[in-house]
Symmetry: C2
Subunit: 344 residues, 2 copies
Amino acid sequence: MTEARRGAATLEDVAREAGVSLATASRAVNGSTRNVRPEIRERVERAARALNYTANAQAQAMARGRTNVVGLVVQDIEDPYFSSIAAGAMRVAEANRLIVSIASTQRRPDKEIEYVASLRGLRAAAIVIAGSRTDDREALGRLGEELAAFERSGGRVALISQRRLPVDTVVVANRAGARDLAARLAGLGYRRFGVLAGPPGLLTAADRLDGFAEGLAAAGLSVPPDAVARGDFNRDGGHAAMLRLLDHGPRVECVFAVNDVMAVGAIAALRSRGLDRGVAVAGFDDIVTLRDVTPALTTVRLPLVEIGEAALRMVLSEPAARPRSRRIQGEVVVRESTPGVPSR
Amino acid sequence: MTEARRGAATLEDVAREAGVSLATASRAVNGSTRNVRPEIRERVERAARALNYTANAQAQAMARGRTNVVGLVVQDIEDPYFSSIAAGAMRVAEANRLIVSIASTQRRPDKEIEYVASLRGLRAAAIVIAGSRTDDREALGRLGEELAAFERSGGRVALISQRRLPVDTVVVANRAGARDLAARLAGLGYRRFGVLAGPPGLLTAADRLDGFAEGLAAAGLSVPPDAVARGDFNRDGGHAAMLRLLDHGPRVECVFAVNDVMAVGAIAALRSRGLDRGVAVAGFDDIVTLRDVTPALTTVRLPLVEIGEAALRMVLSEPAARPRSRRIQGEVVVRESTPGVPSR
DNA sequence: CCATGAGCGGAAAGCGCTTTCCCAAACGAG
DNA sequence: CTCGTTTGGGAAAGCGCTTTCCGCTCATGG
């Protein structure tokens, strides 16, 4: 009846308490293909309860040769983009009784590799990586090797929005979304555009910029090179880039920030110059927490939670012969931040 | 030279490749108090590299009797309040080479208990629980038992903002923060207050409400009972509560929403009625992502990242004889959402 | 009434490590 | 030169499970 004085109760304690063998206790309490007579099972279960027994997951993992841990690697858990993806992945994990191990790389590619190695050490069942999108080929190569080693040792991998490695991928249609957005903005009558682009090397940002340019081109418009201001992929980056554009760029009617948090920074910058009603701003992502900023942001809605779900589902499904990819579309949402140009 | 065809390379493979015993390989590659001759160490390390060996963390955990996993239980990772806390905890975890396992309970107390059990099974070194603040005594009791079992089996526990269980706690000064906020708002000339309170049973919300009432009382003011509208602890809850207050409550000059996301919902509600400049709104938390809403929110700044850091540090430090608590203060930040009453 | 096999409990092997214990060699002191 | 003492490699004992294999009991059928 008394709990082990040192450390947790083991299955052996339970077996002894119930007066059965270790094998039987294991079968009764932790499941097995084999049957155990109801009467004995009941006795074991009672013993387990009395001792407050919980199976040692490590030992189970060792014995079974697989774990119920999945790894999730994001760039910055504090960024709502990633926390929404994480929420989706965690929801699916919960439904499958998986434990999720998470790491935030703070955008350092070397950390990413380190975490994958660490998850390989944990013998995680699967890894989902969100947002590894540099064009640093050297880092990408090492990440690829590390992931390949992980897969060879029996793990599964999925990437979010990163087609550059031969593994399952949830592809976010950044380019297409930005193209659609450009078309809509052109339709609203804007002609003189600026773009607040992300830092060089960030592929997500680059795709959105390219898509936007394509969309404008289709409408016979374009973004003059000096109307593209680069900044960090966060609020302050948007703020700074907007100010730079105002001070050194051409006059613009409408600014596309490659994500919502940058757009919010841009609006703050415009407001500080008293221009917040003079220049239209559009973003990308449709971050939930930002749906109430004023003016309400025109943006491309990405189903972030779904993206997280899709990635984990992919990695949990039967492995395919070749890397699969699941494409997820964004949807343009026009709100007050781009009221349109009435005169045209 | 060739990697094991099935599964990952084991330490035994490395030992064989290097021509040493398992014991020596272990000492050379995974550290030990014992020395290994540099020449042999080098040989083992080379073999490990050649085989792309990574120690099986499960096996190490078994053999050593401890893991490098810490568990983090939050209510909703998508909520910026929790994602900031998680970021802080993860930062400290990284510095200590710990792996963090995270779970989002979606505010279901039973899930919380389930996850703790699960972490006990993992033999996690420590658990941090953020935001278990119901007054459901039954659930709290079961959680307490589960945590006690975890501690008896050698794990450490810290709670964030929950003094009701005898474990280490990071106490957030909700009450004091709300009290200070009330004092400042009274100082700004407001007299007729409303409160958008959280759901009944949520202690964080209750503390903030109580503190606010105390602060007003100190200034000879009060919140009439019918000016307290309850709502969920999220944006929509704030929105709905605000509308209810407008429609069924007394006229108010200033509304205190018990957290920032509710405040944002409230502002949206006011705006939908054309009252956004007529009623002042204050929040609590100072969520980073919401710093650019307009009007800029008066709120109580909580150092959320620090709170997460403090909790994990606490749980990693030497265990104390009795539960410790570390108190963290908020700081009132007055912004445009409470411009003050000029006439007074 | 005996051969057959289904059903189920138990002994023991094994998962991949760490660590204790043992032992040989090298070394320093008397 | 002898006798402790280090020093460092290797054998083996676990860590807490799962699972294979073995063997006993009982039901079944020819």
